[in-house]
Every structure is written in structure tokens, then in C-alpha cells.
Amino acid sequence: MRLYEHEGKELFARFKIPIPAGEIALNTDEAKKIATEIGLPVVLKSQVLTGGRGKAGGIKVVDSPQAAEIVAGELFRLKINGFPVEKILVEPKLNIARELYIGVTIDRVNYKLVVIASSEGGVDIEETAAKTPEKIYRRSFDIDQEMYGFEAITIAKGIGLDSELIKTGSAIISGLFKLFKKYDAKLAEINPLVVTTDGKLIAADSRVSLDDDAVFRHPELAEMGIEKRHEEGEMTPREQKATEWGIPYLDLDGNIGMFPGGAGFGIMGNDFIHYYGGKPANFMDSGGGPTPERLARMLVLLDENPEVKAIFGARFGGISRCDDFAKGVIMFLKDHGLSKPMVCRMTGNMWQEGVRLFDEAKKQNPELFRKFEFHGIETPIEEISKRAVELAREAEGGW
């Protein structure tokens, strides 16, 4: 879960990492007012949950309150990688002598925390690592290790901080490491860490990503307004609706509605449809043990999408039960009706009961099942994928 720059900086401040005296503007009037108060020139920084703001024109320096108002207006109309700018951080412009880099992240290969520091900040650290590895300082820690003062000092010296800055520099490094552990971070970066012309160290930017799965043990984040959030840029109306229903859903640009079970086959099924010459209209994941109501809602998302010409359903009952799956599909058929052809395979836990439910519902109301083809373990999933592609092709009048 990525934090906005200003939120990351708020966390920095809690660990005594120096940050510029900035404030958040939600409209042009506020931008003008803050610029006047904190002293000109100021930097207007668009707050978006994506990288590459600078290149996209999301960061501007202005030297008058009027310019702050006008430029803020331009920024509020901007979209950066699909993220509309809704907040602008207004900060005094720093006089930069040097730019450094400090980051803490997780080394998934070795199951360690790793502190990365560099004398070259303000640029893409991965590029520096690839081109001039000698400028990168790395040190690994176990998750339950603390960083001692001498270690922070060694890192600070490693990136060329001299005796005057070594104390503040090492305090910033150990502060960032503490922040990383305290808030269950996945990434905590200061890039650049600026040495100002008057010899001070200050965190000019923040990039902090926290573990969504650990947010529950940090109630103080909610008090700061930091809650679980969507990080994928602008959502389509259907993705918005799915999010409200708590269903992981993505619109894609094909015409076959995907109604799989777990995320694993959700990803693989997408490939299968491609292999057989079709294109999925979406990605969707039911989650473990979905209720019939949830499954019915998932089908509504597909049936109401005009791009969807046929629906591909797959259920391998594990923690999800086939009887619940059948109940969900039947609930959907009864309440909503199926306007498109659907082919579906169901096997696994409680499949006999699922089949019985389908047979019974079909006997009561055969009309509901007119467009619904149903298969069990005897038909390979590849055949079902092929059939879905065929059905979509027929619905489009052949192509």
C-alpha cells in the first residue's frame, strides 16, 4: 500500500527525520495562501500514488502567490498515469548542494531486510545500481535485528557523509530503519536526501509502501487518515462497482467474460483463452469460499457488460464448495437472467451436491438454463476454454 509523499513525510517526522516545512493544498486558494505563508519561492508537488511525477510535469517551482494559484490550477487538471491530482504539497524550495539516496526494503530471495544507500540521489536508484554498482552501499539485517549506532555511522560514511553531517546522517538512517520495522513497511525511501547549501540534511521526497496485511496493528495510521487504498490509477465504472462489492476485478479489452475460482487459474485461464484464439474481457477472482451472493454479483458484472459476448466459468472446489457455487449461479439465473451464452466446468469439493442443485433447478425452470452449458470433471478445462471462444465467435456472428 503506497503512501502519498506527504504521508510518508509525516511518518519521517515521527522518527526525527528532517522534512521541509510543507502543507497540503486541496484547491488553488489554499495553494496561494500556503505559498504566501511559508515564503517564496515554493515547490508545488502533485500528490499521486505513482512514480514519474516530475517527468509528467507534476512538480513546479513558482516565485509569486499569483503564480502559485495559476500553476496549482494547472496541476489540479492534470492526470498522471491515470491518477487525477487531488492534493498538492506546497513546500519551500530547497537550495541543494548534494543529493543522496537511502532506502530500506525486503530481499525476498534471502528473507532479509536490506538497507541501500548511495552517494547518488535524485535519480533512479535501479539505474545507478546497474551502471555504477560501486556507488551503492548495501547491508542486510535479519527481521529481528536492530541497527546499532556504529552500523548507521558506517552506512553514512559509506555514502560519503563527512564528520559534520555524520551524526544527523546516521540518525536519519537508523530512523528510517526503525520506521520500516515499526510500520511493517515493504519499502521506505528517501530520494533525494538533500544536503543544502547551508549544510543541512533534509528529506526532500518520500516513498513509503506499507504491507496492507499488517495495517490492522497500526491503528494510529487511520488517525492520520492513512487507510487501505486502491493504487491502480483511475478505475473504470465496472472496476469501481466491483471494488465497492469487494471483488478483485479488472477490465480487459476482449469479449469473453471470465468467471473463474481462484486467482491462480484466473491468471492462467486468461492465457488459455488467448491460446485458443479468444480475448478475455476481464480478470476476476472469487476469493476463498465465496458466498452464493458474491458469486451472483460477479456474474452480474459480466452479464451487464455489453463487451462480453460469452462467459467462461470454472470452479474447482477446494475451500470454495461446489454446492455454494451452484447456489450462486442459480440465484443469479433466477434474479437476473442470463442474456449471454455461458459455458462452465465444475468439480471438486461437494460437486455431487452442486450437480444435484443444478439438475433440480433446471427441472423446475428449464428456460433459465437455455444459454447455460454445464460440464464436470470428465471434460478437460481446455475444452471449456475452446468452447467459450467458439461461443463468443458465434455471438459476434463469426470472425
Binding site: 478483485p248 481462484g262 492462467m268 486468461n270
Partner: protein, 288 residues
Amino acid sequence: MAILVDKHSKVMVQGITGGAGSFHTRRMIEYGTVIVGGTSPGKGGQIVEGKPVFDTVAECVKETGADTSVIFLPAPFVKEAAIEAIRAGLKFVVVIPEHIPIHDMLLVRKEAVAHGCTVLGGNTAGIITPGEANLGIMPDIAFTPGRVGTVSRSGSITYYIADTLTRTGYGETTCVGLGGDPILGSTFDEILWMFEQDEKTRAVVMTGEIGGVYEERACDTITKMETPVIAMIGGIFAPPGKRMGHAGAIVEGKMGTAKEKLEALAEAGAHPARTFLDIPEILKKLKV
């Protein structure tokens, strides 16, 4: 033979009194898994599905000789439960719940390595040695005893692979679910090496997916293996930059794309499969 679990494994369930715990305990017993008991702090002395409940893992081990644990507890409790199991001397711990905090899993992994314990998960459907033991939430119907091992990040993919191997007469030795969480207790390379040392496993099917680093990490092991490895990677056609369900499954730049993973695995000597139906074809050619 089998890896990690067989009919001699003495299995306990942490969280045995909970809804999922008791439901799946019954299913595991019905399959023939030797379940010896379980834990639920404060509920020691109760009986669930005919098995004794203890307050701590150490008591359960002492009374029942348990050597393996399956955890059915909410994610926030997994760190303590897993470390308790590891420190009580269990050699194998299966973490079923998903969304275990990453920092917790790093700590669990450290404890496991220090104590020589293997941890699977989080977010795994479990592990099954067909005809002998079923630990977790896998549906029995897909599996039959045989000669191919499987290891996968995803439950549903494990089922489809086994379904294919069962239908085509190969059957399975052991099917291992690594789990879908970003930090896993065990990795492909470790499980592949166990299969390499298992005489009955004549080939291994591994399936991974976009994102993360675990598939590439297996390459070195595959080059050292005599047992053939068939590799499948999900997400060849996944749109870049979009997150598809599993936490690990996000493609950032070039790193961890499905295509690159598959190419790296093929270069290491694995046999790439596109669909499940390719698997029996490859096995036939390899004369497995």
C-alpha cells in the same frame, strides 16, 4: 515414497476448534490422514472430531507424538502459532490462511531455518500425498497415487494439474502448494530438490506465475536435477502493470514477466508446457 507427508505422519491442527479447523479436520480424517490432535488455547481437554484438544503445541506433542502441524487460524495469529510449532520441535508446518503480514513471515522463516523445520504457505491449499495424507483444503477428487510430483503457487492450478495427471493415468506422488502470499515459508528450489531425492517421483510439474522471484530461483536447482521438470507459468498474456489477485502477481517493468520466467526455466532444462493437456504429451515423450 512421498515427500514431506505420508501415512506415517502424525498430524495436529492448530485452531482445531474453529469453524474451518474442525470442518477440514473431519475431511482430513475421512481421507485417511493420521490426525492425532490439535490446539486451541483455553480449550484444552475438549474433544473435536474424536481428537484431543490441548492448550499448547508442546503438550500436544508430548501426549500424541505429533510431528506435523496444519494451521487454521486468522492471519494475525499465524506468527505466534508457527513459531510455537517450530519451537515445540515439529518438522513440518503448513500455513493455510492468507494475508500473513510480510514481517511475520520473515520471522517465521528465520525460526524454521534455525530449527530445521519446513514451512509451507501462507495462502496455500496445503499438501497431499494421494492415498496417504491430505493436509489442508485440497479436494480429494482430483488426486490419485502415481509417479509425478507437483509444486505450485496456486491451489486451483494444483487441482487442474492433478486432475490432468489423474485422468491420463500418471497419478501423483505428492502435490505441494507453496502458497500465493508474497513471502513464502518454502520455495520452488527447496521442494524440487526433495522430489529429486524421492525415488518414486519420476517427473515434477512446477507452475508459477508473473511477479516475484521464486521461479527464477529454481533454475539453478533444475540444472542439477536428474528428474525431469515440466514448467508452466501463468500470466503470459497478463497486461503489464495490472495486479491480478495474488499479491506477488504484479509485473513491474521487465522484472518477473511470465515470458521471461518461462524462458529462464527452459534454459535451465525444464520442459515448458502451455496448457495442462501439454503435460501428458511431454511425459509421454520423456517416457515417464
